[in-house]
Symmetry: C2
DNA sequence: ACCTGAACACCGTTCAAGT
DNA sequence: ACCTGAACACCGTTCAAGT
Protein backbone atom coordinates (compact mmCIF):
# COMPACT_ATOMS: atom_id res chain seq x y z
CA UNK A 1 0.00 0.00 0.00
CA UNK A 2 2.38 2.61 -1.19
CA UNK A 3 -0.22 5.39 -1.57
CA UNK A 4 -1.24 5.11 2.04
CA UNK A 5 2.22 5.14 3.45
CA UNK A 6 2.99 8.15 1.35
CA UNK A 7 0.04 10.05 2.84
CA UNK A 8 0.43 8.89 6.39
CA UNK A 9 4.13 9.12 6.87
CA UNK A 10 5.46 12.28 5.29
CA UNK A 11 8.17 11.87 7.89
CA UNK A 12 10.88 13.54 5.94
CA UNK A 13 9.97 17.05 4.83
CA UNK A 14 12.06 18.56 2.09
CA UNK A 15 15.23 20.25 3.29
CA UNK A 16 15.14 24.03 3.31
CA UNK A 17 17.34 26.69 4.85
CA UNK A 18 14.52 27.68 7.18
CA UNK A 19 13.96 24.07 8.21
CA UNK A 20 17.61 23.69 9.06
CA UNK A 21 17.63 26.88 11.14
CA UNK A 22 14.43 25.75 12.88
CA UNK A 23 16.09 22.50 13.82
CA UNK A 24 19.18 24.38 14.95
CA UNK A 25 17.16 26.61 17.28
CA UNK A 26 15.34 23.55 18.62
CA UNK A 27 18.58 21.75 19.39
CA UNK A 28 20.08 24.86 20.96
CA UNK A 29 17.05 25.35 23.17
CA UNK A 30 17.18 21.77 24.41
CA UNK A 31 20.87 20.85 24.38
CA UNK A 32 22.83 24.08 24.10
CA UNK A 33 24.81 25.55 21.23
CA UNK A 34 27.62 23.06 21.75
CA UNK A 35 25.31 20.41 20.32
CA UNK A 36 24.29 22.45 17.30
CA UNK A 37 26.66 20.73 14.92
CA UNK A 38 26.30 19.87 11.28
CA UNK A 39 26.27 16.18 12.12
CA UNK A 40 23.72 16.48 14.90
CA UNK A 41 21.46 18.61 12.72
CA UNK A 42 21.75 16.14 9.88
CA UNK A 43 20.73 13.37 12.25
CA UNK A 44 17.81 15.47 13.47
CA UNK A 45 16.70 16.02 9.88
CA UNK A 46 17.22 12.40 8.95
CA UNK A 47 19.95 12.97 6.39
CA UNK A 48 23.72 13.12 6.09
CA UNK A 49 25.86 16.11 7.07
CA UNK A 50 26.89 16.75 3.48
CA UNK A 51 23.30 17.57 2.54
CA UNK A 52 23.23 20.64 4.75
CA UNK A 53 25.96 22.32 2.77
CA UNK A 54 23.48 22.93 -0.03
CA UNK A 55 21.71 25.47 2.21
CA UNK A 56 24.32 26.64 4.67
CA UNK A 57 27.86 27.69 3.82
CA UNK A 58 29.43 26.56 7.09
CA UNK A 59 28.81 26.34 10.79
CA UNK A 60 29.75 29.99 11.38
CA UNK A 61 26.97 31.13 9.08
CA UNK A 62 24.60 28.78 10.84
CA UNK A 63 25.36 30.38 14.21
CA UNK A 64 24.79 33.82 12.72
CA UNK A 65 21.40 32.71 11.41
CA UNK A 66 20.40 31.37 14.82
CA UNK A 67 21.36 34.70 16.37
CA UNK A 68 19.25 36.75 14.00
CA UNK A 69 16.32 34.41 14.55
CA UNK A 70 16.63 34.94 18.29
CA UNK A 71 16.97 38.71 17.93
CA UNK A 72 13.34 38.73 16.83
CA UNK A 73 12.51 38.26 20.49
CA UNK A 74 14.10 41.50 21.67
CA UNK A 75 11.38 43.72 23.09
CA UNK A 76 11.50 47.06 21.29
CA UNK A 77 8.20 48.46 22.55
CA UNK A 78 9.92 50.67 25.11
CA UNK A 79 11.70 52.41 22.24
CA UNK A 80 8.54 54.34 21.43
CA UNK A 81 8.76 56.25 24.69
CA UNK A 82 11.04 59.00 23.51
CA UNK A 83 10.15 61.19 26.47
CA UNK A 84 11.80 58.83 28.90
CA UNK A 85 14.53 57.92 26.47
CA UNK A 86 17.11 57.01 29.08
CA UNK A 87 14.89 54.50 30.81
CA UNK A 88 13.76 53.16 27.44
CA UNK A 89 17.40 52.62 26.53
CA UNK A 90 17.83 50.57 29.69
CA UNK A 91 14.80 48.51 28.83
CA UNK A 92 15.76 47.71 25.26
CA UNK A 93 19.34 46.91 26.22
CA UNK A 94 18.06 44.89 29.15
CA UNK A 95 15.82 42.84 26.90
CA UNK A 96 18.74 42.14 24.57
CA UNK A 97 21.02 41.22 27.46
CA UNK A 98 18.42 38.92 29.04
CA UNK A 99 18.04 37.09 25.77
CA UNK A 100 21.76 36.45 25.53
CA UNK A 101 22.02 35.50 29.19
CA UNK A 102 19.53 32.75 28.46
CA UNK A 103 21.94 31.41 25.83
CA UNK A 104 25.47 32.31 26.93
CA UNK A 105 27.14 30.12 24.37
CA UNK A 106 25.27 31.99 21.65
CA UNK A 107 26.43 35.23 23.24
CA UNK A 108 29.94 33.91 23.03
CA UNK A 109 29.61 33.32 19.33
CA UNK A 110 27.84 36.69 18.95
CA UNK A 111 31.01 38.43 20.08
CA UNK A 112 32.61 37.73 16.75
CA UNK A 113 29.50 37.55 14.61
CA UNK A 114 28.89 40.70 12.60
CA UNK A 115 25.12 40.52 12.30
CA UNK A 116 23.27 42.21 9.45
CA UNK A 117 19.85 40.59 9.61
CA UNK A 118 16.58 42.55 9.83
CA UNK A 119 16.14 41.99 13.54
CA UNK A 120 19.61 43.31 14.27
CA UNK A 121 18.98 46.36 12.13
CA UNK A 122 15.71 47.02 13.96
CA UNK A 123 17.53 46.88 17.28
CA UNK A 124 20.22 49.31 16.13
CA UNK A 125 17.55 51.60 14.69
CA UNK A 126 15.71 51.70 18.02
CA UNK A 127 18.83 52.53 19.97
CA UNK A 128 19.78 55.29 17.53
CA UNK A 129 16.29 56.72 17.84
CA UNK A 130 16.48 56.84 21.62
CA UNK A 131 19.89 58.51 21.61
CA UNK A 132 18.55 61.06 19.12
CA UNK A 133 15.63 61.67 21.46
CA UNK A 134 18.21 62.43 24.12
CA UNK A 135 19.80 65.06 21.85
CA UNK A 136 22.97 63.04 21.46
CA UNK A 137 24.85 64.23 18.34
CA UNK A 138 24.51 61.75 15.49
CA UNK A 139 28.19 60.96 15.16
CA UNK A 140 28.74 59.90 18.72
CA UNK A 141 25.39 58.09 18.82
CA UNK A 142 26.41 55.96 15.87
CA UNK A 143 29.69 54.90 17.44
CA UNK A 144 28.07 54.64 20.85
CA UNK A 145 25.43 52.11 19.79
CA UNK A 146 28.20 49.78 18.78
CA UNK A 147 29.74 49.98 22.23
CA UNK A 148 26.41 49.56 24.01
CA UNK A 149 25.67 46.36 22.13
CA UNK A 150 29.22 45.13 22.46
CA UNK A 151 29.12 45.57 26.22
CA UNK A 152 25.81 43.75 26.52
CA UNK A 153 27.07 40.90 24.35
CA UNK A 154 30.40 40.56 26.10
CA UNK A 155 28.78 40.65 29.53
CA UNK A 156 26.54 37.74 28.60
CA UNK A 157 29.38 35.90 26.90
CA UNK A 158 31.49 36.08 30.05
CA UNK A 159 29.13 33.60 31.61
CA UNK A 160 29.29 31.09 28.77
CA UNK A 161 31.36 28.61 30.75
CA UNK A 162 29.82 29.24 34.13
CA UNK A 163 27.30 26.43 33.84
CA UNK A 164 29.99 23.78 33.52
CA UNK A 165 30.77 22.35 36.94
CA UNK A 166 31.07 24.98 39.65
CA UNK A 167 33.18 26.94 37.23
CA UNK A 168 31.70 30.31 38.07
CA UNK A 169 32.00 29.92 41.82
CA UNK A 170 35.51 28.52 41.57
CA UNK A 171 36.65 31.41 39.39
CA UNK A 172 35.09 33.95 41.71
CA UNK A 173 36.70 32.33 44.74
CA UNK A 174 40.11 32.24 43.08
CA UNK A 175 39.95 35.90 42.09
CA UNK A 176 38.67 36.84 45.51
CA UNK A 177 41.59 35.06 47.10
CA UNK A 178 44.05 36.65 44.70
CA UNK A 179 42.74 40.11 45.54
CA UNK A 180 42.83 39.35 49.25
CA UNK A 181 46.40 38.17 48.99
CA UNK A 182 47.48 41.21 47.00
CA UNK A 183 50.18 42.73 49.11
CA UNK A 184 50.27 46.45 49.74
CA UNK A 185 53.74 46.55 48.22
CA UNK A 186 53.29 44.53 45.08
CA UNK A 187 49.75 45.59 44.21
CA UNK A 188 49.00 48.71 46.22
CA UNK A 189 45.92 49.74 44.28
CA UNK A 190 44.44 46.26 44.24
CA UNK A 191 45.10 46.13 47.95
CA UNK A 192 43.44 49.50 48.52
CA UNK A 193 40.33 48.78 46.46
CA UNK A 194 39.79 45.33 47.90
CA UNK A 195 36.11 44.51 48.02
CA UNK A 196 35.07 47.26 45.62
CA UNK A 197 36.25 45.15 42.74
CA UNK A 198 33.91 42.27 43.41
CA UNK A 199 31.03 44.17 44.94
CA UNK A 200 27.52 44.63 43.62
CA UNK A 201 24.91 42.29 42.20
CA UNK A 202 25.08 41.48 38.50
CA UNK A 203 22.03 43.64 37.81
CA UNK A 204 23.45 46.58 39.76
CA UNK A 205 26.67 46.36 37.80
CA UNK A 206 24.82 46.01 34.53
CA UNK A 207 22.68 49.07 35.15
CA UNK A 208 25.69 51.10 36.21
CA UNK A 209 27.56 49.99 33.08
CA UNK A 210 24.79 51.14 30.75
CA UNK A 211 24.42 54.43 32.63
CA UNK A 212 28.14 54.96 32.47
CA UNK A 213 28.20 54.26 28.74
CA UNK A 214 25.31 56.63 28.07
CA UNK A 215 27.05 59.37 30.07
CA UNK A 216 30.29 58.72 28.23
CA UNK A 217 28.62 58.81 24.83
CA UNK A 218 26.96 62.13 25.67
CA UNK A 219 30.18 63.63 26.99
CA UNK A 220 32.58 62.60 24.28
CA UNK A 221 32.78 64.42 20.97
CA UNK A 222 33.83 62.57 17.85
CA UNK A 223 37.27 63.35 16.42
CA UNK B 1 76.56 2.54 22.86
CA UNK B 2 73.79 3.29 25.23
CA UNK B 3 75.67 5.85 27.33
CA UNK B 4 76.41 7.97 24.31
CA UNK B 5 72.91 7.99 23.03
CA UNK B 6 71.67 8.94 26.44
CA UNK B 7 73.96 11.97 26.52
CA UNK B 8 73.54 13.04 22.93
CA UNK B 9 69.86 12.56 22.44
CA UNK B 10 68.01 13.74 25.51
CA UNK B 11 65.21 14.28 23.01
CA UNK B 12 62.36 13.81 25.40
CA UNK B 13 62.52 16.16 28.37
CA UNK B 14 60.32 15.31 31.33
CA UNK B 15 56.80 16.59 31.09
CA UNK B 16 56.02 19.60 33.25
CA UNK B 17 53.16 22.07 33.37
CA UNK B 18 55.51 24.83 32.24
CA UNK B 19 56.79 22.71 29.38
CA UNK B 20 53.26 22.08 28.20
CA UNK B 21 52.37 25.77 28.32
CA UNK B 22 55.59 26.62 26.50
CA UNK B 23 54.66 24.21 23.75
CA UNK B 24 51.15 25.64 23.68
CA UNK B 25 52.43 29.19 23.22
CA UNK B 26 54.79 27.96 20.50
CA UNK B 27 52.00 26.25 18.60
CA UNK B 28 49.72 29.25 18.99
CA UNK B 29 52.39 31.59 17.70
CA UNK B 30 52.99 29.47 14.62
CA UNK B 31 49.62 27.88 13.87
CA UNK B 32 46.98 29.79 15.80
CA UNK B 33 44.96 28.87 18.83
CA UNK B 34 42.75 26.54 16.78
CA UNK B 35 45.71 24.18 16.59
CA UNK B 36 46.47 24.29 20.29
CA UNK B 37 44.74 21.02 21.06
CA UNK B 38 45.56 18.34 23.56
CA UNK B 39 46.35 15.93 20.76
CA UNK B 40 48.54 18.35 18.85
CA UNK B 41 50.42 19.29 22.01
CA UNK B 42 50.92 15.65 22.89
CA UNK B 43 52.36 15.05 19.43
CA UNK B 44 54.61 18.08 19.87
CA UNK B 45 55.85 16.70 23.20
CA UNK B 46 56.23 13.23 21.83
CA UNK B 47 53.66 11.56 24.05
CA UNK B 48 49.99 10.64 24.10
CA UNK B 49 47.16 13.06 24.87
CA UNK B 50 46.27 11.28 28.09
CA UNK B 51 49.63 12.22 29.58
CA UNK B 52 48.84 15.91 29.54
CA UNK B 53 45.95 15.46 31.94
CA UNK B 54 48.43 14.90 34.75
CA UNK B 55 49.40 18.58 34.51
CA UNK B 56 46.42 20.34 32.98
CA UNK B 57 42.80 19.87 34.02
CA UNK B 58 41.28 20.50 30.60
CA UNK B 59 41.67 22.59 27.51
CA UNK B 60 39.87 25.57 29.03
CA UNK B 61 42.48 25.79 31.77
CA UNK B 62 45.18 25.50 29.16
CA UNK B 63 43.84 28.51 27.27
CA UNK B 64 43.71 30.51 30.50
CA UNK B 65 47.34 29.64 31.18
CA UNK B 66 48.36 30.78 27.70
CA UNK B 67 46.55 34.07 28.28
CA UNK B 68 48.32 34.78 31.54
CA UNK B 69 51.65 33.95 29.97
CA UNK B 70 50.94 36.44 27.19
CA UNK B 71 49.79 39.11 29.61
CA UNK B 72 53.39 39.33 30.79
CA UNK B 73 54.04 41.25 27.59
CA UNK B 74 51.68 44.12 28.37
CA UNK B 75 53.70 47.29 28.66
CA UNK B 76 52.96 48.88 32.03
CA UNK B 77 55.76 51.43 32.04
CA UNK B 78 53.40 54.26 31.10
CA UNK B 79 51.47 53.57 34.30
CA UNK B 80 54.17 55.37 36.27
CA UNK B 81 53.32 58.67 34.68
CA UNK B 82 50.56 59.66 37.05
CA UNK B 83 50.71 63.28 35.93
CA UNK B 84 49.45 62.44 32.48
CA UNK B 85 47.17 59.69 33.77
CA UNK B 86 44.70 59.90 30.92
CA UNK B 87 47.30 59.41 28.24
CA UNK B 88 48.94 56.68 30.32
CA UNK B 89 45.59 54.91 30.48
CA UNK B 90 45.40 55.01 26.69
CA UNK B 91 48.89 53.59 26.47
CA UNK B 92 48.40 50.70 28.86
CA UNK B 93 45.03 49.79 27.35
CA UNK B 94 46.51 50.18 23.89
CA UNK B 95 49.32 47.79 24.74
CA UNK B 96 46.81 45.23 26.03
CA UNK B 97 44.60 45.63 22.96
CA UNK B 98 47.52 45.33 20.56
CA UNK B 99 48.55 42.11 22.21
CA UNK B 100 45.10 40.60 21.78
CA UNK B 101 44.80 41.90 18.23
CA UNK B 102 47.89 39.89 17.43
CA UNK B 103 46.05 36.77 18.64
CA UNK B 104 42.35 37.32 18.00
CA UNK B 105 41.40 33.74 18.74
CA UNK B 106 42.97 34.07 22.16
CA UNK B 107 40.99 37.28 22.63
CA UNK B 108 37.91 35.30 21.80
CA UNK B 109 38.64 32.81 24.49
CA UNK B 110 39.62 35.65 26.87
CA UNK B 111 36.06 36.95 26.70
CA UNK B 112 34.90 34.11 28.91
CA UNK B 113 38.12 33.47 30.77
CA UNK B 114 38.16 34.94 34.25
CA UNK B 115 41.89 35.49 34.67
CA UNK B 116 43.48 35.62 38.07
CA UNK B 117 47.16 35.21 37.29
CA UNK B 118 49.87 37.61 38.47
CA UNK B 119 50.16 39.41 35.14
CA UNK B 120 46.45 40.07 35.04
CA UNK B 121 46.53 41.40 38.59
CA UNK B 122 49.41 43.70 37.71
CA UNK B 123 47.44 45.07 34.78
CA UNK B 124 44.37 45.73 36.92
CA UNK B 125 46.54 47.31 39.59
CA UNK B 126 48.06 49.71 37.07
CA UNK B 127 44.70 50.78 35.71
CA UNK B 128 43.33 51.35 39.20
CA UNK B 129 46.38 53.44 40.02
CA UNK B 130 45.88 55.65 36.99
CA UNK B 131 42.21 56.20 37.70
CA UNK B 132 43.11 57.09 41.27
CA UNK B 133 45.65 59.58 39.93
CA UNK B 134 42.77 61.10 37.99
CA UNK B 135 40.79 61.52 41.21
CA UNK B 136 38.20 58.96 40.17
CA UNK B 137 36.35 57.72 43.27
CA UNK B 138 37.44 54.21 44.22
CA UNK B 139 34.05 52.55 43.77
CA UNK B 140 33.50 53.63 40.20
CA UNK B 141 37.16 53.03 39.35
CA UNK B 142 36.85 49.42 40.47
CA UNK B 143 33.79 48.74 38.33
CA UNK B 144 35.19 50.86 35.53
CA UNK B 145 38.39 48.86 35.13
CA UNK B 146 36.28 45.79 34.43
CA UNK B 147 34.53 47.58 31.61
CA UNK B 148 37.72 49.04 30.17
CA UNK B 149 39.30 45.60 29.92
CA UNK B 150 36.10 44.01 28.68
CA UNK B 151 35.83 46.52 25.88
CA UNK B 152 39.43 46.01 24.85
CA UNK B 153 39.02 42.24 24.90
CA UNK B 154 35.73 42.22 23.03
CA UNK B 155 37.04 44.61 20.39
CA UNK B 156 39.94 42.30 19.67
CA UNK B 157 37.72 39.22 19.79
CA UNK B 158 35.39 40.67 17.17
CA UNK B 159 38.14 40.16 14.66
CA UNK B 160 38.77 36.52 15.52
CA UNK B 161 37.18 35.23 12.33
CA UNK B 162 38.30 38.01 10.05
CA UNK B 163 41.40 36.23 8.88
CA UNK B 164 39.43 33.34 7.40
CA UNK B 165 38.75 34.01 3.74
CA UNK B 166 37.66 37.55 3.02
CA UNK B 167 35.32 37.21 5.96
CA UNK B 168 35.92 40.69 7.31
CA UNK B 169 35.47 42.46 4.00
CA UNK B 170 32.38 40.42 3.15
CA UNK B 171 30.77 41.18 6.50
CA UNK B 172 31.55 44.88 6.16
CA UNK B 173 30.12 44.94 2.65
CA UNK B 174 26.94 43.17 3.69
CA UNK B 175 26.35 45.52 6.61
CA UNK B 176 27.13 48.51 4.45
CA UNK B 177 24.58 47.34 1.92
CA UNK B 178 22.01 46.67 4.60
CA UNK B 179 22.46 50.17 5.99
CA UNK B 180 22.27 51.67 2.51
CA UNK B 181 19.09 49.78 1.80
CA UNK B 182 17.49 50.79 5.08
CA UNK B 183 14.36 52.59 4.00
CA UNK B 184 13.38 55.86 5.61
CA UNK B 185 10.11 54.28 6.66
CA UNK B 186 11.25 50.99 8.13
CA UNK B 187 14.49 52.14 9.69
CA UNK B 188 14.36 55.92 9.87
CA UNK B 189 17.27 56.32 12.27
CA UNK B 190 19.49 53.91 10.43
CA UNK B 191 18.61 55.77 7.26
CA UNK B 192 19.43 59.12 8.84
CA UNK B 193 22.75 58.08 10.34
CA UNK B 194 23.95 56.32 7.21
CA UNK B 195 27.68 56.57 6.92
CA UNK B 196 28.26 57.62 10.53
CA UNK B 197 27.80 54.01 11.61
CA UNK B 198 30.67 52.64 9.61
CA UNK B 199 32.94 55.67 9.64
CA UNK B 200 36.34 56.07 11.24
CA UNK B 201 39.48 54.01 11.26
CA UNK B 202 39.79 51.22 13.80
CA UNK B 203 42.31 53.21 15.82
CA UNK B 204 40.12 56.33 15.80
CA UNK B 205 37.19 54.31 17.04
CA UNK B 206 39.31 52.59 19.65
CA UNK B 207 40.64 55.83 21.04
CA UNK B 208 37.19 57.35 21.12
CA UNK B 209 35.85 54.28 22.90
CA UNK B 210 38.45 54.50 25.66
CA UNK B 211 37.93 58.24 26.03
CA UNK B 212 34.20 57.72 26.20
CA UNK B 213 34.59 55.03 28.85
CA UNK B 214 36.89 57.18 30.96
CA UNK B 215 34.44 60.08 30.75
CA UNK B 216 31.57 57.80 31.66
CA UNK B 217 33.42 56.30 34.60
CA UNK B 218 34.23 59.78 35.93
CA UNK B 219 30.68 60.99 35.48
CA UNK B 220 28.76 58.09 36.94
CA UNK B 221 28.38 57.59 40.67
CA UNK B 222 28.00 54.11 42.10
CA UNK B 223 24.59 53.14 43.44
C1' DA C 1 53.32 8.82 41.20
C1' DC C 2 53.56 9.21 36.69
C1' DC C 3 52.72 7.75 32.15
C1' DT C 4 50.38 5.46 28.30
C1' DG C 5 47.54 2.65 24.61
C1' DA C 6 43.42 2.17 23.34
C1' DA C 7 38.94 3.25 23.22
C1' DC C 8 34.60 6.10 23.35
C1' DA C 9 32.08 9.45 21.46
C1' DC C 10 32.26 12.75 18.80
C1' DC C 11 33.71 17.00 15.17
C1' DG C 12 33.71 20.06 9.95
C1' DT C 13 34.14 19.65 5.29
C1' DT C 14 34.84 17.69 0.61
C1' DC C 15 33.89 15.12 -3.37
C1' DA C 16 32.67 11.65 -6.58
C1' DA C 17 28.70 9.32 -7.58
C1' DG C 18 23.92 8.95 -7.84
C1' DT C 19 18.84 10.58 -8.69
C1' DA D 1 19.70 20.79 -9.22
C1' DC D 2 19.70 18.44 -5.32
C1' DC D 3 21.16 14.88 -2.37
C1' DT D 4 24.23 11.40 -0.37
C1' DG D 5 27.88 7.69 1.23
C1' DA D 6 32.07 7.54 2.28
C1' DA D 7 36.18 9.33 3.33
C1' DC D 8 39.76 12.63 5.20
C1' DA D 9 41.55 14.74 8.86
C1' DC D 10 40.83 15.77 12.92
C1' DC D 11 38.71 16.63 18.23
C1' DG D 12 38.41 16.04 24.23
C1' DT D 13 38.43 12.94 27.75
C1' DT D 14 38.55 8.56 30.40
C1' DC D 15 40.37 4.45 32.19
C1' DA D 16 42.58 0.16 32.89
C1' DA D 17 47.07 -1.35 32.66
C1' DG D 18 51.83 -0.67 32.97
C1' DT D 19 56.52 1.27 34.94
Amino acid sequence: MPALSRRERPAKPALTREGIIDAAVRVMESDGLQRVTMRRLAQELDTGPASLYVYVANSYELHAAILDRLLAQVDLTAAKDAADWREALHEVLGSYTDLLFAHPSLAHSAVHTHPDGPHYLALVDSLLGLLAAGQVPAGQAAWGVDLLLQTATATAAEHANDSKDGNAEAAFRRLNEAVDNASAQQFPNLHAHGVDLLSGTPSERRRWAFDMLINGIIATARP
